[in-house]
């Protein structure tokens, strides 16, 4: 490596290697407060309205190129841009002598505030409006369109952080890799990049100020960004990756360690646009079926029948395989109007997950009834689990309720440190345990999982988190209960070895992560995994643990 290369460290959230010039996600335009109008209100009005209409046209064109929900979202945005009352307001503001860009920005802001005031259901629409505003204002100011740039060649995308809306314009054939300053392993960037199969590093503060066009190499597995990399280094890493890719194609089927210990490899599932594609993944089933999507953006709970139809579709698709359904996990980052308590001072510590059934027992009962009806005759091996279980009594109560509906296998998620510390009792009180490592890290370190500044504490390699996982896995062994992991931790091939070393019996992850994890398992014996687990546990911090395990496991 040459002395001119600089290494920047972040958190690798999506594996892969890429090298190329960087481009920044263009920020939202800022309207100069003293922007002078031309003095001709009619001209300003014409220019302002034309910019908004052009933005609407552009959204219509994008919408026409798509199908399904994405097309509907863009068509709805175009409709907002064409709103006659909004147009009138813009004209009125220019008549008051405001410059076109100022009038557009102010009119949009007024309507956005109205929508925001109409309640939490309107939050997404308010965000849509903000997006249209920024596009129209950028057009008026002649600055780059906010969002993903299009320099005409493949590039590494740099950003402060990515919002879900940014993905609409993200073309994976032009973006080589993603690096963000903020965000942790559970950020939107992590989820988006994994689903697109792009290498990604988050929480990499060192990229700030990096000029566009600078060449970098991104290693999404190691969380490394090398500025002005040595060509030999890039070649070496790419060769290693290619060797790995070809090794991956050589392993398939159920997860096994090198010495034949079975480790179920499962996928995480939510609202799917194309179930068939997901079901085609080489997985032994679904380790986490999130059901919140059925309940979001509604004023009341879906009926038992409506739920049954949705669940039955998934169960039939996965006939012959296991499907672990997580009952409604409302609250905190997933508020529901008809469940979430308003004005909770600290929603993450409030009435969420299984706790909501204290206030709304019918909701859980209806959901279990719908799951049981959908499971009957579907051919799938349906398990249910409750989120946010804190005590053995809660686990026992949930299991009894599920059993009463004819659901034979009911488990508890271990996301609260209390449940991990009492894992033997919790395991004995139900049929299986599933570690939700994202929330378990958040609660163990008292660090908000969305707070990018605290990414180091949320690192799933933190020894304190691993200790709780170890206790839980041991409790499973002692009581004869399966223990799975369905958080982001399961999708890291190195960490997967550590988890298996502790005694975890199944790993659930995004389908794109399966091949790497399957390969890593096939290259290590259970005894090797146990040695790696002990090593990670002894490390002074997450980073050191990861490095020690990486060094010891030359195969990954």
């Amino acid at each position: 490596m040459t002395v001119t290369s600089t290494q920047l460290v972040g958190i690798g959230v999506s594996p892969g290697i890429a090298s190329g010039p960087v481009q920044w996600l263009a920020p939202a335009p800022t309207v100069p407060v003293d922007l002078a109008p031309s003095g001709d209100p009619q001209a300003e009005s014409r220019v302002a309205v034309a910019a908004v209409v052009a933005t609407a046209d552009e959204l219509d064109v994008s919408s026409a190129a798509l199908t399904g929900p994405a097309a509907d979202v863009l068509a709805a945005q175009a409709m907002m841009a064409r709103d006659p009352v909004l147009g009138d307001r813009i004209t009125a503001l220019t008549a008051e002598g405001k410059a076109a860009a100022v009038a557009v920005a102010q009119a949009f802001d007024e309507f956005r505030e109205q929508l925001a005031a109409a309640g939490p259901y309107m939050a997404e629409r308010a965000a849509d409006l903000e997006d249209i505003r920024n596009r129209a204002v950028a057009r008026l100011l002649g600055v780059p369109m906010p969002g993903v740039p299009d320099p005409g060649y493949p590039f590494v995308l740099l950003a402060g952080d990515l919002a879900p809306a940014d993905t609409v314009s993200l073309d994976p054939t032009h973006v080589l890799a993603i690096v963000t300053e903020h965000g942790g392993p559970t950020s939107h960037t992590a989820i988006i990049s994994k689903s697109l199969g792009l290498p990604a590093v988050v929480g990499c503060a060192g990229i700030r100020g990096l000029p566009a066009g600078t060449t970098v190499m991104v290693d999404g597995a190691e969380g490394l960004v090398v500025v002005d990399p040595d060509e030999a280094l890039v070649g070496q890493r790419l060769a290693r990756l290619a060797a790995r890719r070809s090794a991956i194609t050589g392993v398939s089927g159920p997860g096994r360690t090198a010495d034949g210990t079975a480790v179920q490899l499962l996928i995480n599932l939510g609202r799917e646009r194309n179930l068939g594609v997901v079901a085609a993944a080489d997985a032994e089933g679904v380790g986490l079926y999130r059901t919140e999507f059925l309940f979001l953006e509604r004023h009341d709970a879906p009926s038992v029948e409506e739920q049954r139809v949705a669940y039955a579709e998934v169960f039939h698709t996965f006939a012959g395989r296991k499907v672990v359904v997580r009952t409604l996990d409302a609250g905190a980052d997933k508020p529901l109007g008809f469940v979430t308590q308003p004005d909770e001072p600290n929603p993450a510590l409030g009435v969420r997950g299984l706790r909501t059934s204290r206030l709304f027992p019918d909701l859980l009962d209806g959901q279990l009834r719908a799951i049981a009806r959908a499971a009957a005759g579907s051919g799938a091996d349906v398990w249910v689990m409750a989120p946010m279980v804190s005590t053995a009594a809660e686990a026992a109560g949930f299991a009894a309720q599920a059993h009463s509906h004819g659901l034979p296998v009911a488990g508890a998620m271990v996301e609260v440190p209390a449940a991990a510390l009492q894992a033997p009792a919790v395991a004995a009180a139900c049929d299986f345990l599933s570690l939700g490592t994202n929330d378990l890290a958040q609660y163990t370190f008292a660090a908000d999982r969305m707070a990018g500044e605290l990414a180091e504490l949320l690192d799933p390699w933190q020894p304190a988190l691993l200790e709780l996982i170890r206790i839980t896995a041991h409790a499973g062994r002692a009581t004869g209960r399966p223990v799975g992991v369905c958080g982001e931790a399961a999708s890291d091939p190195l960490l997967a070895l550590v988890l298996v070393g502790f005694g975890v019996t199944s790993l659930s992850m995004a389908p794109t992560s399966l091949p790497e994890v399957r390969l890593a398992l096939s290259q290590h014996s259970l005894a090797e995994c146990q040695a790696l687990a002990a090593m990670a546990l002894r490390a002074p911090d997450g980073r050191a643990g990861r490095e020690a395990v990486r060094a010891a496991s030359t195969k990954v």
Partner: protein
């Protein structure tokens, strides 16, 4: 002036797709139609932003008003739309 009270039948309320369908239908009418929640100020039914900001939910009663040639017929058509569960339809 024609007026008509309607209860929102859509399970998601007058949001999302039902709101779009309603606003598009209002824009097709020969007369200007307003919509209000009972007790609140009427807003232009052709304005998606104003209709969304009403936050009319399933079971809420709204008042449609119009004045001019064909106002009765316009309200009959729009009211019929609101009385269906638009979100449940394909």
């Amino acid at each position: 002036m024609a007026q008509r009270n309607v209860v929102i039948a859509s399970s998601v309320g007058l949001h999302a797709r039902p709101a779009s369908l309603f606003v598009r239908a209002a824009a097709r009418q020969p007369v200007k139609v307003t919509i209000a929640k009972v007790g609140s100020d009427p807003v232009d039914a052709r304005s998606i932003l104003s209709v969304l900001a009403l936050d009319a939910r399933n079971g809420d009663e709204v008042v449609l008003s119009a004045e001019g040639e064909g106002d009765e017929q316009s309200l009959v058509e729009l009211a019929a739309l609101l009385e269906r569960d638009l979100d449940a339809e394909p």
